[in-house]
Symmetry: C2
Subunit: 209 residues, 2 copies
């Protein structure tokens, strides 16, 4: 009994190592270029063993996505409730960018039909993605209602823009220059996303009464 439990535990630990390694590889090479061989050597096991844990490469990628989605959801829910919605949204984007710096966020969009099918046929993934979409949409609507987010653009457009900023290629390009600290990078990206590239040309800002 004890031995079995221990082995099962080891199995779970290894599975987590596999997912973490896949995460990193997906973040750097993307789904199409990542090979199961890559994952195996990164973890230090043989290729065949991966299929004892995951039925296919797509299933493994789905597991990696779920891991990140759940982490992001937990981070958002851990934010102080008294924060206004826009602050939560900024924090969520910053968290995701930090996660990308740390271990990698496997959000590289591959248009592989196999992957798409596999993702949406995974209950874990669809549940996490649906929940994430709900949480972010709600925050966006709150922020609009509070006058902190522009109301002249459909909420859907805002949500998608936020999502795409988490996998902004500019982030990696700028990071590769080595001219910025991690915090500077995150700050710049978040600021550009929410405040835009432009000043308010010809206009000055006055505090409202």
């Amino acid at each position: 009994m004890e031995a079995v439990s221990f082995k099962e535990q080891q199995f779970k630990v290894r599975e987590d190592l596999i997912v973490v390694a896949a995460n990193r590889l997906l973040a750097t090479k993307g789904f199409d270029l990542m090979t199961m061989e890559d994952v195996a050597t990164a973890v230090g096991v043989s290729k065949g063993i991966l299929y004892k844990h995951f039925a296919s490469k797509e299933t493994l990628a789905a597991a990696a996505m779920v891991r990140v989605l759940r982490g992001a959801l937990a981070a958002i829910e851990a934010l102080p409730a008294e924060q206004p919605a826009i602050a939560k949204l900024k924090a969520a984007l910053a968290w995701t960018l930090q996660a990308r710096l740390a271990g990698g966020v496997p959000l590289l969009p591959s248009s592989s039909p196999n992957l798409q099918r596999s993702l949406f046929s995974s209950p874990d993934y669809t549940a996490a993605a649906f929940r994430m979409n709900h949480v972010i949409s709600t925050l966006v609507h709150e922020a609009v209602a509070q006058g902190h987010l522009r109301g002249d653009v459909p909420g859907e457009v805002v949500v998608n823009s936020l999502y795409s900023r988490t996998c902004d290629p500019a982030f990696d390009l700028l990071r590769a220059t080595g001219r910025y600290t991690d915090d500077q990078l995150v700050e710049h990206l978040v600021s550009l996303c929410f405040d835009g590239l432009a000043t308010r040309g010809g206009l000055v800002l006055t505090r409202a009464a």
Copy 2:
């Protein structure tokens, strides 16, 4: 003489068809998922003939990139000189997004080392990319000097952000919903890029004297 010239002309026309088809496929499937077979059937020729025009898949992709870069450069240079720099930058982004709607812009970033090497070993590509970088950087610095673009973010960061907006995945996702016209899509994306997601919370805008 005439016959040879005609054949050469035909050859060039076909080459252009190949590049256009590759463009579209690169925009939809990306470099990794696009196969030479795809390109061949799209053009309506056999697979082998592609290698009479291009030495490799990477070379073909480079040609597609060069085509788009040159088109974008021409579009920027055709803008009225009296326009302020920020207007030119907005127009350039809008042009690229329109081009993406029309025929596709093959900017899907593949981290394939083969592709990277092939791109940077192509004089045509490096020249076009260098020139594009120069043109955009100059416009950004002008716009900052004119007070239209934020000066608190390094120019390099602004340039990279602009670049990454041209291949923003949100664009395709929103387009796929079918709820927006092409013009609305472009307008929203350009507006979000320059003006940001946020209102100026608690502030009202007053025109300067």
